[in-house]
Symmetry: C2
Subunit: 372 residues, 2 copies
Amino acid sequence: MRFLHTADWHIGKTLNEFSLLEDQQAVFAQIEQIAQREQVDAVVVAGDLYDRSIPSEAAVKELNGMLRRLNLTDHFPVLAISGNHDSATRLSTGADWFARSSFYLNTDLASAFTPVTIKDTQFFLLPFFGIQAVRNYFHDERIKTVNDAMERIVAEMQKAFLADKHHVLVAHFFAAGSQRTADSETLIEVGGLSAVATSLLAPFDYVALGHLHNRNALNEERIKYSGSPLKFSVSEAQQEKGVWLVDTDPFAVQWLPLEPLHDITLLKASFKELMANAKGYPATDFYDIELTDRERIPDVLNKLRTVFPKIVSLHRTHQAQQLALNRQKHRVTESPLDLLADFYSQTLGGKLSPAQYRWAEEALTEATKEEQ
Amino acid sequence: MRFLHTADWHIGKTLNEFSLLEDQQAVFAQIEQIAQREQVDAVVVAGDLYDRSIPSEAAVKELNGMLRRLNLTDHFPVLAISGNHDSATRLSTGADWFARSSFYLNTDLASAFTPVTIKDTQFFLLPFFGIQAVRNYFHDERIKTVNDAMERIVAEMQKAFLADKHHVLVAHFFAAGSQRTADSETLIEVGGLSAVATSLLAPFDYVALGHLHNRNALNEERIKYSGSPLKFSVSEAQQEKGVWLVDTDPFAVQWLPLEPLHDITLLKASFKELMANAKGYPATDFYDIELTDRERIPDVLNKLRTVFPKIVSLHRTHQAQQLALNRQKHRVTESPLDLLADFYSQTLGGKLSPAQYRWAEEALTEATKEEQ
């Protein structure tokens, strides 16, 4: 069978004060066209359908419209899970009715172990989870880390594997393999607290991930982030956005790019150069502007806005260098938990107890939940 | 056919700081039992399913569970509309999937004119509406009052009437007949701004209303408020709560009371008497206490709470008399719009223009939206 893998729609997200609904509609229309043209047997959405746990009414209307279109108008089976940005409870409204028309929306750990079978493939829909939920589900307090949790989850899923089917996991978490690149260092070491080792995911023929917005975050043939369908921050300005088209038999995976309605462009130049060359840039696009000038320019943001109406950030080369230097000095090379343990022993002269360790770990997971 | 008429569930409502979820579960269980025992062909819920436009996660979970149970487990057709307390957009999530299993949830004026037919009856599901929405729908700025609006709405619905069917309207608004009693005076004169005349509803065989929590708010044979299934405030302490069981052929309507898990009781006595007789009252019930003492009693609320843990209001006879006197002085006998018009002419010396009148009317409707 053939399915489309997308994730991190973040419906309702704004870029600074600018609504992205129109941009999200435009990439959704392309996703729908791809699904139709490629005659997929299912559309997978790997979490973070909304941008926040209590989405705006406009976002609710928009997402409902998109899902209705895919499932009720176009008759595609839809396989979706809740991400860390979604409220599992709120998102689950209607899920029992959805399933009757092959729209499988899972927001609940317990339901992850009952696969949805479409043609030759069993799909396991694992929503974003906290470690405590996994401990509760298995009644096992020995589950301490996200890797302990995933080991148990995968073993439990394997019990339902049918030998004549392919097995696909749909999930929403940080995953990290051995290919740690310079770029992902911060992620691994700070966010590493909750990184799932890709080796644990080996039993699956394909893992459709959501959470990281960069489709290149992992370098694995069968474990992939689709990334977000749209650039959601300046840090994503140079990423190519798109969806994966996955065939199960024979296995094949293909990247299909999406065209944004308005791009995010990084500009680095002097004020004079920018004002002189503005005509070369679409006024409706989003801009991150780095000014190379050293002198003060009065009312510079408003002046730039006359030619670049949608500036999402404005900074100075000179200041930026200063900031980069500061960051270097305080560079984080240890995990937050290690830092906390050091601080504890330096100030109180003892080690964290196992209970304190677990408490700190949960608090940190909670605190980083909405980071990505 | 036979249907059950209920309304104003207000799932998520609290009575002071006390959650009512358990109480709401208990009356829901009775509603479900009645539906089963009486073998109804449909369950009508006439608006205000939630207590607020953004319900808590607990409320979302609770209402979803109840509707799932009625519709998917028990297989009752369910006919529901949004009330003024619901967010039409949020509540409508999943509605297109619901309709496929005979759960008709209408939150949209435009859909009110397409009846749902069950056996011998056409049901018209009219959600809570603002006058501007009716003007927009009919492209007619001459619609000024809620009665203008209802006249147009009913006429439009009648176009879809089939002669061999019965016709039931499900709606959520203030309705007022000619039977103005002393009790409902405030309602008619202050809330009267948006009261629909019952005479406009004559074309229907039955009108299943929500909005007012007292089933005796109207004295009409075929136009009824079911009231809320539970007492939601001290002012409802003496109302009997229940549901209507309606037969269409031959027409018959029957009141079936519901038993609250915890009642609201009004107590009027001295502090001494209350403490002495506390054992006669269930500790888990809710109490409104009027103290007849004249002297100050230190820490009186905490002392009373040792025997009546769930006090929802505490007041003094002496103070109450004083307050009643003040109310008398400023008694409202004119509608808010009339008062505003008087104020305007007294201070600015002119009459409200038609546009100002309309603007004020809309603002008042908006302001009183969540009052009931």
